[in-house]
């Protein structure tokens, strides 16, 4: 099915200052499209978490927003380095974030579990040396 609305954002590696701009824009656009309440909040939180992950952990990537009649979809696709142990990465409290990320209040190992908690459907695929793709869907009532 073709989305009703589609846009994407380049997210640069280690760009801590801009991190969150894409998510702020996604939130604004969804609001304009009439998405609100609990779903909007969950999309915003998951989007911010995944955007921060791109900045903190990836070599850079793209965050895509697709709006369907019955769902909002976020797809984050990066250019590596890939996650060696996905089961560990999904565990609350496990983090490989650096000191810079931690000094900003992140890197508590809550990102991936929190995305999963907020999304209605969550899928992560990762190959070391290739990259990680996270797809999240949020059902619209």
């Amino acid at each position: 099915m073709e989305p009703l609305f589609k846009t994407s954002y380049e997210v640069a590696r280690a760009d801590y200052t801009s991190a969150g701009r894409a998510s702020a824009d996604i939130k604004r656009r969804l609001k304009q499209l009439g998405v609100g309440g609990d779903v909007l909040r969950r999309v915003a939180v998951a989007s911010y978490e995944v955007e921060l992950n791109l900045v903190i952990h990836s070599l850079g990537g793209e965050l895509e927003l697709n709006v369907f009649p019955d769902a909002v979809q976020l797809v984050s696709a990066d250019r590596g380095p890939g996650i060696p142990d996905l089961a560990m990465a999904m565990k609350e409290g496990y983090s490989t974030a650096n000191d810079e990320a931690r000094s900003l209040g992140f890197g508590a190992g809550m990102g991936l579990p929190n995305m999963k908690r907020n999304a209605d459907e969550f899928n992560i695929e990762s190959t070391v040396g290739v990259g990680t793709t996270i797809t999240m869907r949020f059902h619209l009532a």
């Binding site: 200052t17 991190a19 969150g20 998510s23 702020a24 939130k27 909040r41 915003a44 939180v45 989007s47 911010y48 978490e49 900003l104 209040g105 992140f106 890197g107 508590a108 190992g109 809550m110 990102g111 579990p113 929190n114 908690r117």
Partner: protein, 125 residues
């Protein structure tokens, strides 16, 4: 209580949002770890923090928080305050430490945000 009551109780300075001080508040959370705030805050609440970087305001934006309280007399930079103003957030600063700020607010009836039910199965007490 309202944000105006918080300002009085904390002897705080209003940095942004002086026109919204009559907003009612029922709960608050206190953290310097935005990861945690993003993970457990499910409602429009108040955040008390000692962290003054742009991500505190972005986190507040994503969660639709009502009010930010900077503890220990810390004041964020002008660009951070401007982005708080854009999103309609109230920002106040108190000279109290985060611990003392939480203490006096609790004493006056403000309570912590409810924690998720799934925490019942956790090991910590």
């Amino acid at each position: 209580m309202t944000i105006a009551d918080m300002v009085r109780i904390l002897n705080a300075k209003v940095l942004i949002g002086a026109d919204k001080l009559d907003t009612p508040v029922y709960t608050a959370c206190c953290s310097d770890l935005m990861s945690d705030v993003l993970a457990f805050v499910d409602e429009k609440t108040v955040l008390i923090t000692g962290l003054t970087n742009p991500h505190v305001v972005r986190t507040s934006e994503m969660l639709d928080l009502k009010c930010l309280v900077f503890a220990r007399g810390k004041i964020p930079t002008q660009d951070i305050l401007e982005s708080a103003e854009e999103q309609g957030l109230v920002v106040i600063a108190t000279k109290l430490t985060a611990f003392s700020a939480c203490g006096v607010l609790y004493e006056n009836g403000l309570r912590g945000v409810p924690v998720p039910e799934e925490w019942d199965s956790r090991e910590g007490g």
